[in-house]
């Protein structure tokens, strides 16, 4: 989820931290490559000096080509490196593995310290990352530098069973199947029971929600209900300037999802409503459902210059002057209109319900 428009600098912050992580990984890798080259040179140089004590070191490689039981080495390809070359490798590797393990332990202790002293999320994450990452790196480096075996070849067994195995299994199966198949009545009854169970399971779905008719066609506005703003203020003829708008609700259900209505004031003579809706927009006050007919988002934006309502979810636009017909974007149906009239106290009232059920479309929509 990203909607950090309100915090533009936070976004930049994110990129910097992403850069820090990716850059950190790349940098450590570069350091590792450079160090490994340098160390290899150093150790091979030391290894070549006469009377080197390397043979006495405890870094003995695993017994290389010594035959093991079960013919384990018969099918094994061991990388053809000589014993002394491998010893040099091991010394380089040991430096890395030990450093990685040390980093992991140090970072782990660091995490504990930060945690118990109530440190920031960044320090917690950073130390935990170094601890996990150090352990991961240590294991990979261990395998890479210190394990002798490089590439092995294993034969695959053919996947299909042999003809004999198949025939044997099928003979056994059909011997049993004939006993079942003979009992036509019992197999039929088994099927009937299973059918009932299936019907029960499907029926239980009914418990999960009310019949759609109960919530698909709610009576939203009733004739005579006064329009009020989100704070409960009634709307009179001088509430809005031409070109401005406000979100309104029925007086007794502020915040109602289905009843949320966009009340806009336009120049009365500019309206091009259908004939049967004449008189629905007194003094240029025109009201449409605020729930988008496309995906149900609130159609919360109004562009004065173009007289368009805009849904910020998928950018459908609706022409305020043309009974909220969709003009661009994915919405196909006009926003339902709410007929309005002015009561004897001068307040705007609903003259009935919306022209259609508000919200996204469905199969049974009139």
């Amino acid at each position: 989820m990203r909607a950090d428009k309100d915090n533009p600098d936070k976004e930049g912050h994110h990129y910097a931290l992403w850069g820090l992580i990716v850059g950190g990984v790349a940098f450590s890798f570069a350091v590792y490559r450079a160090t490994s080259k340098a160390l290899s040179k150093v150790f091979s140089a030391i290894g070549k000096t006469p009377n080197s004590p390397s043979a006495d070191l405890a870094l003995t490689p695993a017994p290389a080509v010594a035959p093991e039981p079960h013919g384990r080495d018969a099918d094994r390809d061991i990388e053809p490196v000589s014993r002394s070359e491998f010893e040099d490798r091991q010394r380089v590797g040991l430096v890395f593995v030990v450093s990685a393990f040390s980093a992991a332990i140090a970072a782990g202790v660091g995490f504990l310290f930060v945690y118990w002293t109530g440190g920031s999320n960044m320090l917690l994450g950073g130390t935990l990352a170094l601890s996990f990452g150090g352990l991961g790196a240590a294991l990979v480096l261990w395998a890479h530098w210190l394990m002798r075996e490089r590439e092995a070849v294993e034969p695959r067994e053919p996947l299909p069973s042999s003809t004999h195995e198949r025939e044997d299994a099928s003979k056994e199966f059909f011997a049993g199947e004939r006993q079942i198949h003979r009992r036509k009545l019992l197999t039929g009854m088994t099927a009937a029971v299973l059918g009932t169970f299936a019907a029960i399971v499907i029926s239980l779905l009914r418990s999960f929600g009310p019949p759609p008719a109960s919530f698909m066609f709610p009576a939203v506005w009733k004739r005579g209900q006064r329009l009020v703003t989100g704070t409960g203020t009634r709307v009179s003829m001088d509430t809005l300037e031409v070109g401005s708008y406000v979100t309104v609700f029925p007086e007794n259900s502020i915040g109602s999802v289905n009843a949320q209505t966009m009340l806009i004031r336009v120049a009365e003579q500019a309206l091009r409503l259908p004939k049967e809706r004449a008189g629905w927009a007194p003094m240029g006050y025109v009201a449409y459902s605020r729930v988008c007919t496309h995906a149900g988002c609130p159609v919360g934006e109004y562009e004065t210059e173009t007289d368009l309502l805009l849904c910020p979810c998928h950018q459908s636009t609706f022409a305020v002057l043309d009974a909220a017909q969709p003009t661009s974007g994915p919405a196909a149906r006009a926003l339902p209109q709410l007929p309005l009239y002015v009561d004897q106290d001068g307040y705007l009232c609903a003259g009935g319900d919306f022209t259609e059920p508000p919200g996204p479309g469905f199969w049974g929509m009139p």
Binding site: M1, H13, G126, A129, G136, V140, L141, R156, P312, A332
Partner: protein, 465 residues
């Protein structure tokens, strides 16, 4: 100690022979084989962090007054779920770290699955005998998408509320049964009292249980069939080349596991994700401009925005415009993914033989061109999912950007397909003539390597004269 335990278990389970064979199990070494493992280890981390979070989450949509330590929202009426998320983020030690790691792990989990799927597709790893695992894999992807969506819909913040209303509209749009389905799934017009508890149960139990079972099956089948190998000297359909399970592969794979954990911990600690306290609590009459879903639903979001507003009625029933991009498109995409191995073997390569050596992308121009075109198609949709942000960034109107993307949706994949097909064919011809020349120069070469791919290409090439 190890010896004692080994004897103890072997005396009860007769394990020695199995273990001996398991130690020698060979796993191939190639960077592209790690995507599946990354997905597996992010899943493990999701379960660990998710279990931690579940201890604090209150799966209730009812409104309560916020009274925690995030000052800006104190006294505001918020869903109880939202309050518990803020409590975890601000008042539980390391709570924010775990929460952000969970969200990042989810994004990486799905990303790794998609990368894994692309690797399998472009190397034709779905061919016999691996069709079953392809089907399980596609199912895992679908489940992962749903679970990711349910997860971010739980927090009771404004963005997840908007997402839920869109999902409700999509379910509602299904012809004939849409409103029944919406009632069964959501219990009425969202948000109802049952919406969050139901999604929570699906998110932490039903779908993870299915994921875990299918992951186990997926791995079991890989173990049985063994991995594929990239083509190369000594790689044949009858062998597998790589590292043995014990000790090399164990060390490498566990190492990768902790590297994945470390990377996700770095993201969770350093890079903020889903700051629900900035979005505010859910409010069905409010909306955040510039809202987008998590990356893996971007293509559906984009399709919702690009699809034209057609008002279609069939037999008196309304088929809302959102049905086509919201329901039919994903159904089509996943049906195609499920069916591709079977379509490929029946119509494209006309080959039902078992294969253990992978095909390289340039060796299968049609598949590669098709895959690239499909990818570009989804990429255009993905960008369409933020067409408003693009329009603001470029200073253009949304209508213009939308029209351009609509054209690109058709043109870009077509161009991609032609270019990729031509490129692969050229590459293929070149490498075949190279091999042909080599085989003419050294006839004994083929016999020595015993590489069937080489033999094939030599057989396909007509000798001059």
């Amino acid at each position: 100690m190890i010896g004692f335990l080994a004897r103890w278990f072997d005396a009860r389970l007769h394990l020695a022979k199995t273990a001996r064979r398991a130690f020698d199990h060979v796993f191939p070494d190639h960077w592209s084989f790690m995507f599946g493992e990354i997905a597996l280890y992010s899943f493990v981390l999701l379960i660990i962090t998710g279990a931690f979070m579940a201890m604090f989450f209150d799966a209730t949509g009812a409104k309560v007054s916020y009274d925690g330590s995030f000052k800006e929202l104190v006294g505001i009426s918020v869903p109880a779920a939202y309050r518990s998320v803020l409590h975890l983020s601000f008042d539980v030690p390391a709570g924010l770290l775990v929460r952000q790691m969970h969200h990042w792990a989810a994004l990486i989990f799905i990303g790794a699955i998609v990368a894994h799927l692309a690797r399998l597709f472009f190397t034709a790893a779905y061919r016999r005998p691996r069709e079953i695992n392809w089907i399980i894999g596609v199912t895992l992807l679908i489940l992962a998408l749903f679970n990711g969506y349910f997860g971010y819909s739980l927090a009771g913040d404004l963005l997840s509320g908007s997402g839920l209303r869109i999902a409700y509209a999509i379910v509602l749009s299904i012809p004939l049964i849409g409103s029944w389905l919406a009632s069964i799934l959501f219990g009425g017009v969202v948000p109802t009292d049952v919406t969050i508890p139901r999604m929570y149960m699906a998110h932490i139990f039903v779908i993870p249980a299915m994921l875990a079972a299918l992951v186990a099956l997926h791995l079991g089948i890989i173990w049985r069939q063994k991995h594929t190998n990239y083509p190369g000297p000594g790689r044949t359909d009858e062998t597998i080349v790589g590292s043995r399970l014990w000790p090399t592969y164990t060390a490498k794979s566990l190492g990768l596991c902790f590297l994945v954990f470390g990377f996700i911990a770095a993201l969770g600690g350093l890079v903020q994700i889903n700051p629900v306290w900035i979005y505010g609590p859910d409010n069905p009459t409010a909306i955040l401009p510039g809202a987008q879903p998590d990356w893996y639903l971007g293509w559906i979001e984009g399709a919702l925005r690009l699809f034209p507003g057609v008002n279609l009625r069939i037999a008196g029933g309304l088929v809302p415009e959102i049905f086509f991009p919201g329901v039919l498109l994903p159904l089509f995409v996943f049906a195609l993914l499920y069916a591709y191995p079977f379509i490929e073997k029946a119509f494209i390569s006309v080959d039902d033989k078992p294969h253990n050596v992978l095909r390289l992308p340039y060796e299968q121009p049609f598949n590669t061109a098709f895959g690239c075109a499909a990818f570009i198609c989804l990429l255009v949709l993905f960008f369409a999912g933020s067409d408003d942000v693009i329009a603001v960034t470029l200073g253009a109107s949304v209508v213009t950007i939308r029209e351009i993307l609509r054209i690109l949706f058709f043109v870009a994949p077509a161009v991609t397909a032609v270019v990729v097909y031509a490129g692969c064919s050229m590459w293929q011809r070149r490498s075949e003539s190279h091999r042909h020349l080599r085989s003419l120069a050294r006839p004994e070469f083929l016999a020595v390597t015993g590489d069937p791919k080489m033999k094939d290409s030599a057989a396909r090439t007509t000798l001059p004269g």
